[in-house]
């Protein structure tokens, strides 16, 4: 059996055990610094960042930004309104192919690369953050960490079926290194950071 062959060959050929290195100390930056850093990096990779004062402001901004879009969904109950229906689960992922705007809430954001961590429970259904034409993510400022080491410290041993870091709209530079936003996934990413 190939499994046993491979393992036997490795046990024969592996070098003497080498220890793991010590972990890199986690960077502890001031919260104000994290917000500025996150915003700068996010805008640098094509996201739009808002720092709203209230939930009401988030709602009005979303409504005005996407007034022309047809199908909008929110997985964040606080944002449900006449124009933005709540996400309802249909186990066939293909039924979300016509979603124009999908709204999510993350609990973890990374300042050094502006990535936001979403797990399956926060997505409603796995395909949604990818298949939607535009993505909107809310993040509390208290959810920001400096770097990826701190991010994984916060994720810890959490159990999830699927989780992903999302940093910006989907993009490609495969044609002569010209950056094009909207490769297969969202064409835009809007982030609301609030207290």
């Amino acid at each position: 059996m190939s499994r046993d062959q491979i393992l036997a060959a490795l046990r024969k050929n592996q070098p003497e055990p080498v220890p793991l290195p010590l972990a890199i100390p986690t960077d502890r930056e001031e919260v104000t610094g994290l917000v500025t850093k996150f915003k700068t990096v996010a805008e640098g990779i094509g996201s739009t960042v808002y720092l709203p004062d209230s939930l009401q402001e988030i709602q009005t901004t979303i409504t005005s930004l996407f007034s022309k879009e047809k199908r909008m969904l929110t997985t964040v109950p606080e944002l449900v309104s006449a124009g933005i229906p709540e996400f309802l689960l249909n186990e066939d992922p293909h039924t979300y192919a016509d979603v124009d705007v999908a709204i999510f809430k993350a609990d973890l954001g990374v300042a050094e690369n502006s990535a936001l961590w979403l797990t399956e429970d926060q997505m409603g259904i796995r395909v949604l953050p990818f298949i939607t034409q535009h993505i909107v993510i809310l993040i509390k400022i208290s959810g920001l960490v400096a770097d990826m080491h701190a991010a994984y410290q916060k994720i810890g041993t959490a159990d999830y079926g699927f989780g992903t870091f999302i940093a910006g709209p989907s993009k490609t530079a495969d044609i002569e290194q010209s950056l094009v936003l909207g490769a297969h996934g969202p064409r835009s990413m809007t982030i609301f950071m609030y207290v």
Binding site: L10, Q14, V18, P19, I24, F130, G161, G163, I175, E176
Partner: protein
Amino acid sequence: MLNKILMSGATKTHPELSETFNQDEARVDWHDETLWWIRQKRDKSANSIPEWETLREKASQIKNHVLSELAGYLVSFEEKAKANGVIVHWAADALEHNQIVHSILEKHEISQLVKSKSMLTEECHLNEYLEQKGIGVIDSDLGERIVQLAKEPPSHIVLPCIHKKKEEIGDLFHQHLGVPAGTSDPQILTEAARRHLRETFLTRKAALTGVNFAIAETGEFVVCTNEGNADMGAHLADVHIACMGIEKMIPKRKHLGVFLRLLARSATGQPVTTYSSHFKKPRKGQEMHIVLVDNGRTVQMGREDFRASLKCIRCGACMNTCPVYRRSGGHSYHYAISGPIGAILAPNLDREKYADLPFASTLCGSCSNVCPVKIDIHQQLYKWRQVIVKEGYAASSKKLSMKLMTFTLSSPGIYRTAGKAGRWVLKHIPFAVNNQFNPWYKQREMPAVPKESFGEWYKKENQKG
């Protein structure tokens, strides 16, 4: 099929294929400058992290550790993945890998597959195998789709169609996707591909992805893309097959912190890829498979001098910086993985077929300097040369010139005469060396002739007292 010729490499060597690429000087300059620009973006990104060198060192040490306990980590990964509801397969070689993928598709009566980037499947020639079995494969990464339409292999592991001009891509899309003739705007071309591939994602029942990192502690695996194509495929399909070389293992989830900080910055200068997706359990109603592939890796593990090549995280930084790669193009390497890292991986699989590759380098060491996991690439290239010459696989022209050189350098008298003769030839009958029979004259100007050798000058100065 061009694809086959390039991939089999039976016909042409690196110097011959480079010569073809070098016929269009303007294109070579463009290729060179584009890759150097990416190298500069990498530098800018790396320099923005004060602890960059510490990160490289940690990544290197983590990988050294993994290699020393790989068997144990694979067993632990398998156990966790199975507990997560994932079906785990083991493949000794490319053929077994291809058979496993085919058998999964056959079981589900699926005849069409959508595939995101996986250099392993390129290494195994999966597409050709499946096509022979009547299964259609569509590559969903934009660059890979472009080279697939052109019936070519990727020329770069991160930037598969870096050798293609937008006008050529426009022609391909006109021919295959119905774009108006003469279109060359990247925005319009990408939009056309988006529509074409969305249709593909929505209609395929099976999706295959590669794996960037597999975590022994949790049984999950991470796939990084900018386009979101791996996720679009996997989350819409009933069957997800993830294929990985056994060296992709890392011990714990927290180690992703180190590798995800290094990967995209080294590859393109981005702070991180748009998506870093962690697949742990199949979606409800979905079947998820992982294929663990050896294909020569356990043998490489046993070669002390070359073992470190298994630390590679496939970022492509060594290609972008390589003065030879930038001017010879990825196809000149006639192996799935081009550039310096390909040149040290390929001879492990076939020393005769890839005997030319370790010589496709100036040994300048730039590749080793940018490698995020500190592989001693240029030293391995040098060591492979010795193995290849010793085993008798070196090209006959190389063997002859080496012998001649040994003969000349072994006697001071012969050395002096040869030097004098060389200078006389260059001065009086330059056409005797400046011709097509001298490989050193290709793409090079011969040097100006010195009046005398250093030896002659020194003797004269000494006599002057």
